[in-house]
């Protein structure tokens, strides 16, 4: 088990392209978040700004505890695409260098191979989740006004569906790469599919926005949405935000009203989807010659 982790680490530790993508990932994450940060700082510095004030008189941004947890978990989902590039390149290399074949000749079986790749997925997801947790704690401190009196830890449970989503998305990338074998084509398929699925899902959500918020749409059962569902961004529920313009909603009068707890059923489905992606990747490898 840990031997497979060790083997996988040997493969990437001295791979310049791996570190290159890690650097791009960190720069993009930092840059993207800084841009959003500046945007909100700007907005919040103006007295009666639509997007961030509420009837309670306190200013609310997407960076306030506790809703920052699922807001940023939702936003950070987009950076998972960069981590998927690592998975796609690492696994397609194993095909093009014929090293998966050689690994099997040397004494791995197909299950070991999938487990070793799952280790990489697990590690990248864990690292990203830990980084995001730290980032949220810092940003929350900066933006949440002290008088709101919210514990910074409330909502931290949203890091769990984020972690599982990350594992699921990278497992999806693994499955596509195992099917397609070629890096370029896998990249195109993974990115194009993610884009299309998210656009379709958001379009449907938008249509029902502000009317029946909790309605279940068929788009919720698309593979990537199954992993998105447990992380509904709270900013869709914020007053004056989004296409529905929830301004009149009297029920929302404090930060706590915006916060909706974790749906464990959705989380279970998300976990199940991960299992299906990994299981299918294993099944494909099993059936095929190496």
């Amino acid at each position: 088990m840990f031997n497979l982790l060790k083997i996988q680490l040997h493969k990437i530790r001295h791979y310049p392209i791996f570190w290159g993508i890690v650097a791009i990932f960190l720069l993009t994450f930092a840059g993207g978040n800084y841009a959003i940060f500046r945007m909100f700082e700007e907005i919040l510095s103006q007295p009666n700004v639509k997007m961030a004030t509420m009837m309670t008189g306190i200013k609310i941004s997407i960076f306030d505890f506790p809703i920052i947890w699922n807001n940023l978990a939702w936003l950070a989902g987009f950076y998972q695409m960069i981590l998927a590039v690592i998975i796609i390149i690492d696994i397609s290399n194993e095909f093009s260098f014929k090293t998966m074949r050689q690994n099997m000749i040397d004494g791995l079986d197909r299950r070991d191979f999938v487990v070793s790749k799952f280790w990489l997925i697990f590690l990248l997801s864990a690292a990203f989740t830990v980084m995001l947790t730290g980032y949220i704690l810092v940003m929350g401190q900066i933006f949440t006004e002290a008088e709101a009196g919210v514990s910074p830890w409330q909502g931290i449970e949203f890091m769990l569906p984020f972690f599982i989503q990350c594992i699921g998305y990278l497992s999806f990338a693994m499955l596509i790469t195992v099917l397609v074998k070629k890096a370029g084509l896998s990249l195109i398929i993974v990115f194009a599919y993610s884009f299309i699925e998210n656009v379709v899902a958001m379009a449907y959500k938008g249509k029902h926005f502000g009317k029946e918020e909790d309605i279940t749409l068929w788009t919720d059962f698309l593979p990537l949405q199954l992993q998105n569902n447990p992380i509904p961004p709270a900013f869709f529920r914020m007053p004056n935000f989004g296409p529905g313009n929830n301004k009149e909603d009297e029920s929302i009068s404090s930060l706590q009203d915006l916060f909706v707890g974790l749906d464990w059923g959705d989380l279970g489905l998300s976990l199940l989807t991960c299992g299906v992606f990994v299981g299918l990747a294993y099944y494909v490898l099993m059936r095929r010659d190496a």
Binding site: N3, K6, I7, H10, K11, H14, Y15, P16, I17, N93, F97, K98, T99, R101, Q102, N103, M104, I105, D106, G107, L108, D109, D112, R287, D289, A290
Partner: protein, 318 residues
């Protein structure tokens, strides 16, 4: 065929422990199909401990496909094989060192790091790395990336990797392909010296000359079928033999009838003709008579007398 008739003492092996198994490998009716093409066709082979076993056949005869199945990378369609008397699994592969077709390594890693990965897969101590690199003469180059290596160096690194776990069996697929004469000589020398340490070697090659120079035993493959299996000295040298071309209405019946013909070395289908090799010289009358008694009438018969070696050369050329 010879390989069939030599399956004589299967019961003795039941009681032998795997490390004293006289048979390192036993293949039974192994078959692999790619769509309509049968790349390996009901292959039977036995490899004894300590032999240098050559699998000889022209390009496309199914050598790599056979080895791929034996090494767990290709799924077989029919038949079975046993390494060390055991059903195949990954643990046995750790007792085997093998190279299939090309040396496969991570090009961006240096030799030492590549070997670390393989040592961890095989459960070999990292202290073996310098030992095997020295053995193949690459110790000074161990910090260089694999992609900077020449083909000969890559091939030697692959042999080093195969030796990491002090294997009982070394499987090599065309190890001298594409090398210059000096590289070829080096690799052959290396194989012989490894064999002298008691490692059983299974070597696929399309070169009769190579098999004769290196191997003790040989199996000849063509179109995925076993034509001959036996000692190398049985096919080399200038012994008289005859290549006979035959044709009948039902070539399949012809072939099965021929398997009882005395002194037969190999049976091969070549288009609509059946080719056989016979020890010594013969005349057409004997074979015609033999087949007639089995109810087969020949529509074509042609004899070519030459050395057995020439016959095999003919058989194994494309």
């Amino acid at each position: 065929m010879d390989s069939q008739s030599s399956h004589s003492e299967p019961n003795i092996q039941k009681f032998a422990t795997s490390s004293t198994q006289p048979l390192v490998l036993k293949i039974n009716q192994l078959t692999k199909r790619y769509g309509k093409l049968t790349a390996v066709n009901r292959l039977n082979l036995e490899v004894k401990r300590g032999s240098i076993y050559g699998i000889l056949g022209p390009n496309g005869s199914g050598k790599t496909t056979t080895l791929g199945m034996l090494l767990g990378v290709l799924n077989s369609d029919e038949g079975s094989f046993r390494w060390f008397g055991e059903a195949p699994d990954k643990q046995q592969r750790k007792r085997i060192g093998a190279i299939l077709e090309t040396p496969n390594f991570y090009p961006y890693l240096n030799a030492e790091r590549n070997l670390k990965i393989i040592a961890d897969i095989k459960g070999a101590p990292h202290s073996r790395i310098d030992i095997v690199l020295k053995r193949v003469g690459l110790l000074e180059r161990k910090q260089d990336r694999f992609k900077t290596y020449s083909l000969g160096m890559k091939q030697r690194l692959a042999i080093a990797a195969a030796l990491l776990n002090e294997p009982e069996v070394l499987v090599l697929d065309e190890p001298t392909n594409g090398l210059d004469p000096q590289g070829i000589a080096e690799i052959r020398q290396l194989i012989k010296s490894i064999a002298e340490e008691g490692v059983t070697i299974l070597l696929a090659s399309h070169l009769l000359d190579e098999v004769e120079k290196v191997c003790t035993d040989v199996a000849v493959l063509k179109f995925g079928k076993l034509l001959f299996a036996g000692k190398v000295d049985q096919i080399s040298g200038d012994k008289e033999s005859t290549l006979i071309e035959l044709k009948a209405d039902d070539n399949e019946a012809l072939k099965s009838a021929l398997s009882d013909f005395p002194a037969i070395r190999g049976v091969n289908s070549n288009g609509h003709l059946v080719e056989i090799i016979i020890d010594g010289t013969t005349d057409g009358k004997a074979i015609n008579q033999f087949l007639f008694e089995k109810g087969i009438v020949l529509s074509h018969l042609n004899l070519k007398s030459m050395s057995l070696e020439q016959n095999f050369l003919e058989l194994t050329s494309n």
